[in-house]
Assembly symmetry: C2
Homo-oligomer: 83 residues x 2
Amino acid sequence: MKTVKIFITLKHGVLDPQGKAVQESLNKLGFPEVKGARVGKYMELQLDDHADIDQQIKEMCAKLLANPVIEDYQYTIEEGAVQ
Amino acid sequence: MKTVKIFITLKHGVLDPQGKAVQESLNKLGFPEVKGARVGKYMELQLDDHADIDQQIKEMCAKLLANPVIEDYQYTIEEGAVQ
């Protein structure tokens, strides 16, 4: 069993209105030191062991999890199920 | 300038219908090895240097970013702006 942690973010240059809203809200709540915010998605998958796990993850991201036109993704693979 | 990466996840035991939908979709798309999925949020904040940055981040999460009743969060602090 492996735990795959996937971070999906908007590509640089793609407008992020949700991030902008977070930044402005934090500024108004008394955190003027926040100069920028970007919001993305985070996923944890539990996978049975597989011969080519990197290839599998890339296919999952391309087919379902990320929008390759506007999003980038990174992932880490850890042994064992998440605690 | 510091970059803070925040991962917000549902607490263990809290039902995650979005994660369940991701898992079932991946299974149907030809990835039967996916045995579980949890979906969360990921944020990158750009912060000016501040005396007590840990305390600031905890306050931001408590006041706006996370729902402490059902969500946990983790964060990392990196020097410099995100590339």
